[in-house]
């Protein structure tokens, strides 16, 4: 399969070095030369370069990585981290929303309910998946699956990756606000563990509607924000090109959110980001989930819920004058 290369602007040095290595390899193959001695230091240099560039990303660059079209999506993790996935579709009210996928799967043998936003890899799939922006029926499907997990005492694992809930005519007509509000309330009271992972873009209320959880994990280069940097810049400064400034101000990176006490753990990504090595990213996610799921799955449902409510009860910062 031909791989369409896609490089972010700051990844250019990485791409150039990759090309250089590939060229050398090609030449060696053609002429039957042994160039292992030449390639090894280049690959070491490439690894260093990746680490170095990714260590010092600006918040807006992380937004770009979080939105990378080759970044692993929910179905990619379902294929790598989980087994026996059976997709369950539809909200039983209106239709199936392909912007959210969900169903039964096993995490290291344990049955779990996995629900996540799903973006498309190309234009055609993106149109079908609506770029990962759900309609109310997507959230209602998610809620139906969560209640099913509750009835059968299985943990819920949600994977968050959306620019936001879809702002369109049909979505409003069918109660986008109501659907999100209901999910939040029901998730607050759900008598089974919920573990949420921001794997890419955590876009505001559309992300939170799958994100009220006992544990919130976040991939190293994922972002989570109340508004997109572009939207924030447009509102505050009437200028969407000020997105870097807005991305800085919004404190939307995994480290920022860990400092603010919102995120429980950051899941490390392979050097060069999850898109450079989806298997490596899946391995790290598997490792983290395998630790967190048993911890919360063992709790008594009432205790679990009390802890969940208390956790959110403490969120927010204000002064009492």
């Amino acid at each position: 399969m031909a791989r369409t290369e896609f490089h972010l602007d700051f990844e250019k040095p990485i791409a150039e070095l990759e090309q250089q290595i590939a060229g050398l390899q090609q030449m060696a193959n053609d002429r039957r030369l042994d160039v292992r001695g030449e390639i090894a230091p280049l690959e070491a240099k490439l690894a260093d370069l990746r680490r170095e560039i990714y260590r010092t990303l600006t918040p807006m660059q992380r937004v770009q990585v979080a939105r990378h079209p080759r970044r692993p999506f929910t179905l990619d993790y379902l294929a790598r981290v989980f087994t026996d996935f059976v997709e369950l579709k539809g909200d039983r009210l209106f239709r199936d929303d392909p912007a959210i996928v969900g169903g039964w799967a096993r995490l290291r043998e344990r049955p779990v309910m996995v629900i996540g936003h799903q973006k498309g890899r190309d234009t055609k799939e993106n149109l079908r998946r609506n770029f990962g922006m759900p309609h109310p029926e997507g959230y209602r499907k998610a809620l139906r699956l969560m209640h099913m997990a509750e009835r059968f005492h299985a943990p819920v694992i949600t994977l968050i990756d959306t620019p936001g809930a879809y702002p369109g005519l049909g979505a409003e007509e069918r109660g986008q606000a109501e659907a999100i509000a209901r999910n939040l309330e029901e998730m607050g009271g759900l008598k089974t563990p919920i573990i949420a992972v921001v794997i890419g873009e955590g876009g505001s209320g559309g992300a939170l509607a799958l994100g009220l959880a006992d544990r919130l994990l976040m991939l190293e280069n994922a972002i989570y924000s109340v508004i997109s940097p572009e939207g924030c810049a447009a509102i505050l400064w009437n200028d969407a090109t000020q997105k870097e400034r807005a991305a800085d101000a919004l404190k939307l990176t995994a480290t920022d959110l860990e400092t603010l006490g919102i995120v429980d753990e950051i899941v490390p990504e392979p050097a060069g980001g999850a898109h450079a090595d989806p298997d490596g990213a899946a391995e790290a996610l598997d490792e983290a989930l395998a630790r967190h799921v048993p911890e919360v799955a063992g709790l008594d449902p009432t205790e679990l819920r009390t802890r969940r409510t208390d956790k959110y009860r403490r969120m927010g910062q204000y002064v009492e004058a």
């Binding site: 702002p167 409003e172 986008q176 607050g188 919004l250 603010l260 969940r308 969120m315 927010g316 910062q317």
Partner: protein
């Protein structure tokens, strides 16, 4: 010689000219109807001609809903904090306080409504567009807890453009915080009446505003998840007439009833008296 002669006497005004102060008149923003302000005020700032509900202050809603002299404000001391170091936020807060005359986007308290003890929160759009940050979330959370503790009904009047971006994800988490508590309130059988006024959008509509046992809305109020401008941009066409109004939401099953301001107090009182169980009412007396 004329039998009648026109009296050429200079006429003087029979009475003094009425001095009408220029601010005695008000003009309806919707239909352009001009009337004396007193008439607008008597109608609770509803246009006598077209019924347009003008924006009123949080204080005014308290006067409309709560029995005279029974309101006690709670949690007044809560102040927003620039937790993210967001440029310009401190300044915005200070100017919003001056402009709105309040300390944040909501006034919380308790009082009686036709004798029934209730907890009430009223959002103020004048304070940074009624945006919900940590203080709004915290006051709502405390009101829910107070309602749980006293088994007293909760009434929230919303007016908000959504979450306050200057507090980043902390604002977003207020939706989760209030919703988790709201789940408890619902299970406890304590009634919650949500009243949506113009506008109720974003994070507020996607959390407590839509979670009422009974959702009421003022006529013509814009209610929705995304604001009309964002939707227009996304779909690249004009929105149909009446899209996202209270009446539209009522027709689409998201709001129980559209209630004119003049009937708000009576409607809430009447429905609450039927929802609050008899023993709970007796316990209050």
């Amino acid at each position: 010689m004329a039998w009648f002669r026109k009296d050429k006497r200079k006429r003087t005004a029979q009475r003094e000219k009425l001095e009408i102060p220029p601010d005695a008149w008000g003009k309806c923003e919707q239909c352009g109807h001009v009337d004396i302000n007193e008439k607008f005020e008597r109608a609770l700032q509803v246009c006598p001609s077209c019924g347009h509900h003008r924006r009123i202050s949080a204080q005014r809603y308290i006067e409309i809903l709560i029995d005279d002299g029974s309101f006690t404000e709670l949690y007044r001391e809560l102040r927003s904090k620039d937790a993210l170091g967001f440029e310009g936020y401190e300044h915005r807060l200070a100017s919003a306080s001056r402009k709105a005359g309040t300390h944040d986007g909501i006034i919380a308290g308790h009082g009686t409504l036709t004798g029934l003890a209730v907890n009430l929160g009223v959002m103020d759009f004048k304070f940074m567009g009624g945006s919900m940050g940590s203080v709004v979330g915290e006051k709502v959370a405390r009101l829910i807890e107070r309602s749980l503790e006293h088994r007293a009904p909760l009434i929230l009047v919303s007016a908000s453009g959504g979450a306050r971006m200057q507090e980043g994800v902390l604002s977003l988490m207020q939706m989760a915080k209030t919703s988790a508590l709201m789940a408890r309130l619902r299970e406890s059988g304590t009634p919650y009446i949500s009243i949506m006024t113009n506008p109720t959008t974003g994070g507020v509509s996607a959390s407590y505003a839509m979670q009422g046992d009974v959702n009421l809305a003022e006529p013509g109020a814009v209610i929705g998840f995304a604001g009309p401008r964002v939707i227009k941009q996304t779909i690249g066409q004009d929105l149909p007439d009446g899209f996202q109004t209270a009446e539209f939401l009522e027709a689409h099953g998201m709001v129980d009833a559209v209630v004119p301001r003049s009937e708000l107090r009576a409607t809430v009182a009447s429905v609450l008296r039927m929802m609050v169980s008899a023993p709970a009412l007796e316990a209050q007396d």
